[in-house]
Symmetry: C2
Subunit: 340 residues, 2 copies
Amino acid sequence: MTESRGRAPRRPRPTMDDVAQVAGVSRGTVSRVLNGGHYVSAPALEAVQRAIRKTGYVVNQHARSLVTQRSDSAAFILAEPQDRLFEDPNFNILLRGCTQALAERDITLLLTIAGTQEDRKRIGRYVTAGHVDGALLVSDHAGSPLIDELHSRGLPVVACGRPLGHERDVSYVAADDRDGARQMATYLRSRGHRTIAIITGPLDTSGGVDRLAGYRDALGEPDPMLVVAGDYTRASGEAAMEQLLRQAPDLDAVFVSSDLMAAGAITTLHRAGKRVPADVAVGGFDDSAVATASVPRLTTVRQPLSRISTEMVRLLLTSIAGEQPSAVILQTELVVRESA
Amino acid sequence: MTESRGRAPRRPRPTMDDVAQVAGVSRGTVSRVLNGGHYVSAPALEAVQRAIRKTGYVVNQHARSLVTQRSDSAAFILAEPQDRLFEDPNFNILLRGCTQALAERDITLLLTIAGTQEDRKRIGRYVTAGHVDGALLVSDHAGSPLIDELHSRGLPVVACGRPLGHERDVSYVAADDRDGARQMATYLRSRGHRTIAIITGPLDTSGGVDRLAGYRDALGEPDPMLVVAGDYTRASGEAAMEQLLRQAPDLDAVFVSSDLMAAGAITTLHRAGKRVPADVAVGGFDDSAVATASVPRLTTVRQPLSRISTEMVRLLLTSIAGEQPSAVILQTELVVRESA
DNA sequence: CTGAAAGCGCTTACAG
DNA sequence: CTGAAAGCGCTTACAG
C-alpha cells in the first residue's frame, strides 16, 4: 500500500551483471542477446530474455554510447524563433517525416529550437558533446555560426534548403525553388497579368534568393517598387502586401514566396477592397495546408515536403556512415486553384 | 584548400588526457577545472583553459553521465498528436517557459511528441534508458500507459494539470480549473443569460472534468442537451457549436473550455447568422493569444501559463533531488472583453 | 557458442 | 592544491 503510493522507490537500476547472474550466463552473452542475438544458443537466449523481464533491465545508454561512440539519436535543429515552428505548417510536415523515417532505423529525433543566439550556443554545445550522431538543420540563415560550428566539429549535418555559403561543405536537400518560381511567374503572365509583384522570403535564405531568381528568369529585372521581402510569417505577408499596395497601386498580380505569407497578403487585399483573383491574382509557394484552407484556395507551387524529409534522413545516414556530402534537388510543380 | 572543403575530417575527438598533456597537469586537475575550478591553483587553471581552447576539447557527455548518473537534460513529453502542439498556443508558451527555466540551471530540454502508441513506447524506452533526469508530462490522458511506465521506473515526473488517477504518485502543477469555470459561469448568469451551454474538453483530462465541475457548481446540473465535449482543437469547437445549435437552438450563452475551441465556436455562430455577444455570448478559457486575435475579443479565464512553467521546473528539480511528489494549484482570473 | 579481459572517457574520494 | 587509482556499465575482439 504505502509501497504503491508516493514516490517510486529509487532502487538502483539493474545492470547487465544482474541479468547475467539471474540468467546464469556471462555478461558478454547478455550483451550479444541485446545486440541481435547472434552467436547465442537457444537456451541461453531464452534464459537471458526471461532474466531481462524479471529484473526489468533497461540498457544504460551512456555506457553503451561510451563504447560504441554512437548515440542512436539525431537532432532536428530549427534555427528560427520558436513561434515560427508553431505557425508554419511546413515545419510540422518536415518534422513528422523526419521523425518517422528515423524511427524506422531506431533513431530518436530530438527537436531543438535555436531561436536566440544563446540557444544556438547551448545547442551547439549539446550536439557536439556526443549527444547526437548527426543533425538536421532547418531554416538556417546565411552567416549563422551554427552551421560553421557543427561542420568544423565534424558532425554529420544535412540542411533543408541550399545552405548559402556551405553548398560544398554540408549535404542538403532542396526543392527546385528557382524552377518553381519560374513556373509560377510564367503562369501569371500567361493569364494576362502585366504588373506582377513579388513578396520574397528573407534574402539570406536560399528560398528567398532562389525564388526571386526564378521570377527574374521569367519576367526580367523588375521595377524595384514591385519587390518586397517578408520573413515567411503570415504577419509579414500582410505587411508586405500593404507596402506593395502603396508603392504600386496598379499591380494586378503578386507572387508570394510562401503560402502562409500569401494568406496574409490576401487578408490585406480584402481589407483594401480588392477581389482575389479578379482585381489581384495571388500565387503562393509550398502547397501546404494553408493553401487549401485559404479563401480563395491558393494557386501555388508544390514542393514535396515529405519526400524532402525522407531524403534528408537518407543523406544523414550516409553521412554518419562516413560518405562525402551530397545534394538532392527535387522537382516542384504548379498547382492551379482559385487565387490566380 | 581541399582541407577546407567537403567533409570535415573526422579526427578523433580530443579527450581529457590530451588536454592534461598539453596543459602539463593530470587528468584530475582538468576535471576540477571543468567542474567549477575549485581546489585549482591560478597557474594550473589558466594552463588548462588555454589547453582546452587549443585542443578544442568538448566534454564527452556519455562518459560524464556514466559516472555522475545524471544527464543534465530533461524531456518535455507532449502526449498528443503532433498537430496539437502546432495549433495550440498554450503549448508554445509552456514549452518556452520550461526551456528557459531549465536553461538557467544548464539543463537542456528535449521536446518529444508522443502522439501515437508507438511513439509512446519509443519515448518510454528513451527516457528510461538514462537519457534524461526527469520528464515534464503535458496533456496526458487518463489511462495512458506512459505515466505508469515513467513512474514505475522511478523517473522524476511532473505533470501539467491534475494527472487523473495519479494525484498522489506524481507531482503536478495546475491552474484552479474548477474555480475558473465557476467564475465564468457565474459571470454569464450575472449578465442575464438563462440558457448557458458548455463545450467541455476531453473528459479523460482534468481540464475537461474540472471545468465542467465548476460550471455545475455555479449553475447546477445542466440539461444534457447543453453539454458537448471537444478535444481542444479549433475544429472541434466548430463542430461542438454546430451540435449545440441543433440540440438547443435557444441557447443565449456558451462557456467554451479553451480559447481555441471558443474561436471555432464563434466561426460557427457567425456562419449561422448569430451575433456575438448580442445573440449568443461566448466565454473562453486560457487567455491565450487566440483570445485577443479573435473577433470579437474573448472574455475568458486567465491561467498563468508562464508561472505554471516555472513551477513545473521547480517541482521537477526538487523531485530529481529526491523529494516526495507534491502539487501546486494556481489561481485563475476572469478577464472580461467583448465576446461576453 | 561462450567467458574473461580490455577499454571507452570521464569523476571522485584518497593520499600526499 | 595535486596526482594516481578505482570504477561507472557497457561492447568487442580474443581465446577457447
